[in-house]
């Protein structure tokens, strides 16, 4: 199948999912009771009266983890193309297998060093 056919089917699946959701919500709207009350509009949270504002402060650590995630996700972007072609390399290709391997060793080694640094600095420790 061609490129457009395949992704066309995927797009149809996405539309199908959205339609299914719409139909379910529509049927729900027809069948469900609607008995509004001021209490139903208030914050539920855990059943007791809620304290503080909704968008409250959070631990700064989540931000650090988000940062680390971005670093490692970008790294994955570099690893995948390498991973696809690395098996095809041999003595006849322009880049030798050993070169590809050493290059990736250096790259991943640098990243591991970064992880070790974050580890040593106590960033990965939750308290």
């Amino acid at each position: 199948m061609s490129f457009y056919q395949q992704y066309g089917i995927v797009a149809i699946v996405a539309v199908f999912g959205a339609l299914l959701y719409a139909v379910i919500m529509l049927v729900n709207r027809i069948m469900r009771p609607t008995i509004p009350s001021p209490l139903k509009l208030s914050v539920y949270e855990c059943g007791v009266e809620s304290e503080g504002v909704g968008w409250s402060q959070m631990n700064i650590r989540y931000y650090v983890f988000a940062f680390l995630f971005v670093i490692f996700d970008v790294e994955a972007v570099f690893i995948f193309p390498w991973a696809v072609i690395v098996g095809d390399l041999d003595a006849t290709t322009r880049i030798s297998p050993v070169f590809a391997l050493v290059a990736m060793f250096l790259f991943i080694g640098t990243l591991l060093e970064g992880l070790a640094y974050a580890w040593k600095k106590g960033v990965l420790t939750w308290e």
Partner: protein, 410 residues
């Protein structure tokens, strides 16, 4: 187009009905099995062995009121469950149930779309699922759902890295991102004659990382702490009710099925299996059967985990992800690449096997010397000044005395 139009529609429908049915059976099976593990009976009223319970529960959802609380950010609040459901649908689109099937004179594979970036597609859809969780938590505008959403998404992105790197070793070994190539690569073993060439054997550490990662990714026990229903009300979807809550539940259970299907496809050969020399007219059923059996095995594993293990602590969960799984997965990518490339240099299989085994033992030795307690972050504690209670995630309530009551009132 060389095929009539009904073929892709039929393909798509078969795959979807199959996965939705498995999801329904999973919900029933989970309640039955966990009940049995806890010396209860479980649902047994509706249908034989209560098998229709899922259907009745789903129908019940339609009759539930679905109020939108006043404080939420409404467009985002409504879109969040939709994003989760669509991401779930799209990630199963690349997983084949079986090999080519011939029906009514047309031959087609039982997969929605065999994309050339199949593996990346699965990872991308996992990332989009995080959006659903985070947006649901944020748009609720309520402290607990917000924290639940942030915790869930931090957990999911952390384990996503480990999972992605585990998948990278599969890609190195298979040399392709296409799912059908990965399955074809597992048909016969290149290392041991006559054994199935499942990638779980040569890539065992990556397989382990992936299995642990998929449990955390699906937010299932023992890693369900962000929505621990016994302790909290329910994490990021606390403010949801009615059918929109039901959609989150559907997305979560479908995630379990999808994860099981993915691990079977990437590491356990997917639909590969013996055909016993049956004629082609019947033989196409067998791959579907093998695939289903392997997948049901993993679903059962998810259910057993829930019944057997206590919930993990959040700091330990993050430590496990960052300090154990990610380094192991990274190292194993390199070991796999070395193993594949040394073959190009003309080094014998036995030497390569010995080298790979040595690398595996080294990883294991590092893990043992580092010690599970240390890796779990327990020994990091005393270094700092003792804190009697863990610092609260929430800001103290006194700092926000003014509450937006006007906004809450109708």
């Amino acid at each position: 187009m060389d095929q009539p139009l009904w073929v892709p529609i039929f393909q798509t429908l078969v795959v979807f009905v199959y996965f939705l049915l498995v999801t329904a059976v999973l919900i029933w099976a989970e309640r039955r099995v966990v009940a049995r593990m806890q010396h209860r009976v479980g649902p047994n009223r509706v249908g034989p062995f209560g098998a229709l319970q899922t259907l009745v529960d789903g129908a019940k959802m339609f009759f539930k009121e679905d109020p939108t609380p006043g404080m939420v950010n409404n467009p985002v609040y409504t879109i969040a469950p939709l994003v989760g459901v669509i991401a779930g649908f799209l990630s199963i689109a690349v997983i084949p149930l079986g090999f080519d099937v011939t029906l009514f004179g047309e031959t087609f594979p039982l997969v929605v779309a065999d994309l050339n970036v199949g593996v990346l597609w699965i990872l991308a859809m996992g990332s989009i699922h995080v959006y659903s969780v985070f947006l649901a938590g944020w748009s609720s505008n309520s402290p607990y759902p917000l924290l639940g959403g942030i915790r869930s998404s931090a957990q999911m992105v952390s384990y996503e890295i480990a999972q992605g790197l585990a998948v990278a070793s599969v890609v190195v070994y298979a040399g392709s991102l296409r799912i059908s190539d990965i399955i074809a690569g597992q048909q016969t073993s290149t290392l041991i004659e006559g054994m199935p060439g499942w990638y779980a054997i040569p890539l065992f550490p990556a397989f382990l990382v992936f299995v642990i990662g998929m449990v955390a990714e699906a937010g299932r026990p023992p890693f369900d702490l962000a929505e621990a229903e016994g302790e909290l009300v329910g994490g990021f979807h606390t403010e949801y009710s009615g059918m929109r809550f039901g959609m989150f539940m559907l997305a979560e259970f479908m995630n379990v099925v999808t994860m099981s299907a993915i691990v079977v496809t990437l590491f356990l050969g997917g639909p590969n299996g013996p055909t016993f020399g049956l004629p082609d007219a019947i033989a196409w059923v067998l791959p579907i059967l093998w695939f289903s059996l392997k997948m049901i095995g993993f679903i059962f594993f998810f259910i057993l985990l829930r019944g057997a293990l206590p919930r993990y602590r959040y700091d330990r969960l993050m430590s496990l992800g960052w300090k154990v799984l990610i380094p192991i997965a990274l190292v194993w990518v390199l070991v796999t690449a070395g193993f594949v490339l040394l073959a190009e240099e003309g080094i014998a299989t036995t030497v390569r096997l010995v080298l790979a085994g040595a690398a595996g033992l080294l990883v294991l030795a590092l893990l043992v010397t580092a010690g599970p307690a240390r890796l779990a972050g327990a020994s990091d504690r005393p270094k700092r000044a003792p804190i009697p209670t863990p610092a609260p995630d929430r800001a103290p309530a006194s700092r926000h005395v003014e509450r937006d009551r006007e906004e809450v009132a109708p």
